[in-house]
């Protein structure tokens, strides 16, 4: 469900999964399939807590396959837009009236001051290709029956996190909690789903919180306020011109 | 032989908004080897006239001819400098010697800047002229080690050393006592006779008038008298 956030905010897409997955992989894939939005218009909100400071960012995202356009609507960031197309990410700053392509080190920064890095959002490879997943436990979490699955980075795979542990709701196929680890074994990030909602016979996390474990008292809440499936998306929405 | 000819010279000074007519139309002719005295009271225009003749200043109107034909008004500043350098000697009211140079060097100055003769010749010339103005033995003295009369004699030597066509002396005795004045005038007269140098000198002192060979009296910028030889009423 970290994916959801990623998808919604910056639109990461996973698709065309192997049918012949091993069990753990299958579960992961199911979760990702479930949380994957093919075509949608999402209104969401990000609340960035840094010690006692609280920042709210409101955004509208248009998603179509592996393309997405996000526009911020809160007063501070109004007009700031992101455009994702495949692996490329552009940003438009209304103040500078300038389109910038984000790359290299810039992608490692926290997006809009949040605990998500741009890179987190951009991860577009299939998780099952990067990690060896294994069910380590079955457990009740948040009063839901869950698989606890651990993924260890495959040798040579270029993944940001060395290890990830996911709690996946057996029935609803949503990740309720995910922990991301460094190679040294240090817990770097933790994402916990706080609210889920059913849309169209499909359960969806609508409120989750990401915590950067290396920094005290900071967290980012991600709240979905509405999802419209298969909306009308005007042609040219995902062109660079639409950024300006 | 005419050395110098003035044709209706006028000089007007602008003093603020007032025009001061220092010379109001003077015409005269000076012959070679003449010893001319310009006499007149203070403010009559003597200095102005000598400056015009010495081409240190330009007349407001009229023309000055040298050697019968050379028109001063046609010469540039540099040409005037050269003209003065080669042809004119000046003796001023104050001696105007260069204090850092010795008597010898002050005299030498006038021919050093001409640079036509060898060092040896030059030296001889300077020593000769200093001797003839009576300064033998004082060549190495600086101006501040000389008396007023001696300084003026150095100035005379400096004016004469280049054998100028004309020596202009504006009240050369004004700052001297009467005895020294006579000495200086004697020397000028002697040099005029010995070298045949043309002299024009001015004075307001009637005492000095007896040295005159030709006497031109001016008042208010006009010639009122021009006498020579027998016409001179002053005894020699």
């Amino acid at each position: 469900m970290k994916k959801v956030i990623l998808l919604l905010v910056i639109f990461v897409f996973l698709f065309s999964y192997s049918i012949f997955a091993v069990t753990a992989d299958e579960i992961i894939q199911k979760r990702d399939d479930n949380e994957y939005l093919k075509t949608a218009r999402v209104e969401s909100k990000m609340v960035i807590n840094n010690n006692n400071r609280k920042l709210e960012k409101v955004m509208i995202s248009l998603i179509d396959g592996n393309k997405a356009l996000v526009e911020f609507t809160n007063p501070m960031d109004r007009g700031t837009k992101f455009l994702k197309r495949e692996d490329n990410l552009w940003m438009f700053f209304p103040d500078a009236e300038d389109v910038v392509k984000l790359s290299g080190h810039m992608l490692e920064r926290g997006m809009m001051g949040s605990d998500f890095s741009y890179k987190d959002m951009m991860e577009s490879e299939k998780l099952t290709e990067l990690y060896n997943f294994e069910i380590i436990e079955e457990q009740e979490y948040q009063k839901r029956p869950c698989y606890v699955i651990e993924g260890i980075k495959k040798q040579g795979a270029e993944a940001t996190y060395y290890k990830r542990i996911v709690w996946i709701d057996k029935e609803r196929h949503i990740g309720l909690k995910e922990e991301l680890y460094a190679e040294s074994g240090k817990l770097l990030k933790e994402i916990v789903v706080q609210e889920v909602q059913e849309f169209d016979h499909r359960w969806y996390p609508t409120k989750s919180v990401m915590e950067d474990k290396l920094r005290e008292n900071t967290s980012t809440e991600f709240i979905i306020e509405s999802i419209e499936f298969n909306p009308e998306i005007p042609e040219g929405t995902f062109s660079l011109q639409s950024l300006q | 032989m005419s050395l110098l000819k003035l044709e209706n010279i006028k000089k007007i000074y602008q003093q603020g908004k007032i025009d001061v007519q220092a010379i109001r139309g003077i015409s005269l002719e000076i012959k070679k080897s003449e010893f001319t005295t310009i006499f007149g009271p203070s403010g009559s225009g003597k200095t102005t006239l000598l400056n015009l003749i010495g081409c240190l200043d330009k007349p407001t109107s009229g023309e000055i001819y040298y050697d019968g034909s050379k028109k001063l008004s046609t010469l540039s500043k540099n040409e005037l400098s050269d003209f003065r350098r080669y042809n004119l000697g000046f003796i001023f009211q104050g001696h105007n010697l260069i204090p850092v140079l010795t008597a010898f060097e002050n005299v030498e100055f006038a021919i050093r800047i001409i640079n036509e003769i060898s060092k040896k010749e030059r030296r001889k010339k300077v020593l000769d002229i200093l001797k003839s103005v009576g300064l033998e033995g004082l060549e190495e003295r600086r101006p501040n080690e000389l008396s007023g009369g001696q300084k003026q004699r150095v100035a005379i030597a400096r004016a004469l050393v280049k054998n100028p066509k004309l020596v202009l002396a504006d009240e050369p005795t004004a700052n001297l006592d009467s005895e020294t004045s006579e000495e200086v005038l004697d020397i000028m007269l002697k040099m005029n006779q010995k070298l045949g140098t043309t002299f024009i000198f001015s004075t307001h002192d009637p005492q000095v008038m007896r040295y005159a060979r030709r006497l031109i009296e001016i008042r208010d910028g006009k010639v009122t008298q021009d006498k020579q030889g027998e016409d001179l009423d002053v005894p020699h």
């Binding site: 980075k153 040579g156 795979a157 270029e158 993944a159 940001t160 996190y161 060395y162 460094a182 190679e183 040294s184 240090k186 770097l188 290396l214 920094r215 005290e216 008292n217 | 200095t47 400056n51 010495g54 240190l56 200043d57 500043k77 540099n78 400098s81 050269d82 003209f83 003065r84 350098r85 080669y86 004119l88 000046f90 001023f92 104050g94 105007n96 260069i98 204090p99 850092v100 140079l101 060097e105 100055f109 006038a110 050093r112 800047i113 400096r158």
Partner: protein
Amino acid sequence: MFLTKMALKNLARNKKRTIITALVISLGIVIFLVSDSLIVGMEEISIDNNINLLTSHLQIMDKNYWDNKEELPLNNLLDDNLLVVNQIKEELDIEKSTKRLYFPANINNGREEYPISVIGVEVNTDSEVFKLEQYLLEGQSLKNGNNAVIGKKLANLMGFELGEYITLLFKTKEGTFNTIEAELVGTLDTSHPEINEYHVYIPLQDAQNALGLDGKVSRYFFRLEGKEESIPVTNEINSILNRKSSNIKAYNWEKLSEDILAMTRQGNIENLIMLIVIIILAAVGVINIVILSVLERLEEIGMMKALGLKMREIVYIFVIESAGIGLLGSAVGIIIGFIGVYLLTNIGIDVGSITGGETTFGIPIIDRLYGGWRPNAFIFIFFFGIITSVLASILPARWGAKKDPVKAIYHK
């Protein structure tokens, strides 16, 4: 010639005035020479510091590493027991060398992160080449095991105390996050803001392990007998390396300290300011003296004009006179300056007492600052003093020479 002689004689006319003006020029020249010497001295110190702390006398690294070295990349690294390095050391009789592995990381104190450069150093050889130990402010120098030494400024910024554990967060070559937790055993206070604020030193082994780069280093570093040797030795090493047609190249400290050389340029700006001060001093002095002389010698100027001197000859007299003053002032300035610089280079000045021990020069370890020699500065300023005097005199001399001879003679 005659005019020149006369002009020089004029110098003696008002000795006091001449001497005062010349001394004003001398003063400017002494200030210039002394400050130049101090700048040279400071440059020397900062170059030495740079060598002792950052660059060493020469480094060898992969040519491709050189191009991207600012980014501290994790590719184009060298093996940590390169045969050719031993060969070079033997052939050129170099004893002191070490190696380091650089990588970028974020330092983290549980509240905030700050981007820094991590330097994995070979604990037992680093001090042969680098003098970090001399700049240890508290604690001890790096030892083997899980420990780190960082700049005092960085420690303050992050609120780290000795004995606490620092966390470094970075990415391995595969782009995977890793962390190192190391005990802070010492802090450094050097003349380099870069070290004080951005450097974290850890044992080479730890760095290699955490990055998954066992047996790899970024660069080798060498200490020679003196910095003069670095160019010839660098050339020799490069000819050895060329023979082996390897992708490795040696770089001397000068090539490695382009930023320091930029600082030197800043020193030149200080010199420029000094020059402007001298120009003003000399020009005001000379203009003043020429104006006074002209006024004093109006009659003389008029007389000389009457004698037939042209304007430019009169200008010449004053200009030569000013050149004489410039020459006098420059000569005296050079002599006093020479003595001053001699004292500066041999005795130095007590920086400690000026700044109360803690200097902001960024030269905390030394308490005496020594000047340096730059013979060119002497030659340059000597002519500069004369030329400035000459140029300054031209306008007032023209003003004097233009005076109407009639008025000049009869000005009383």
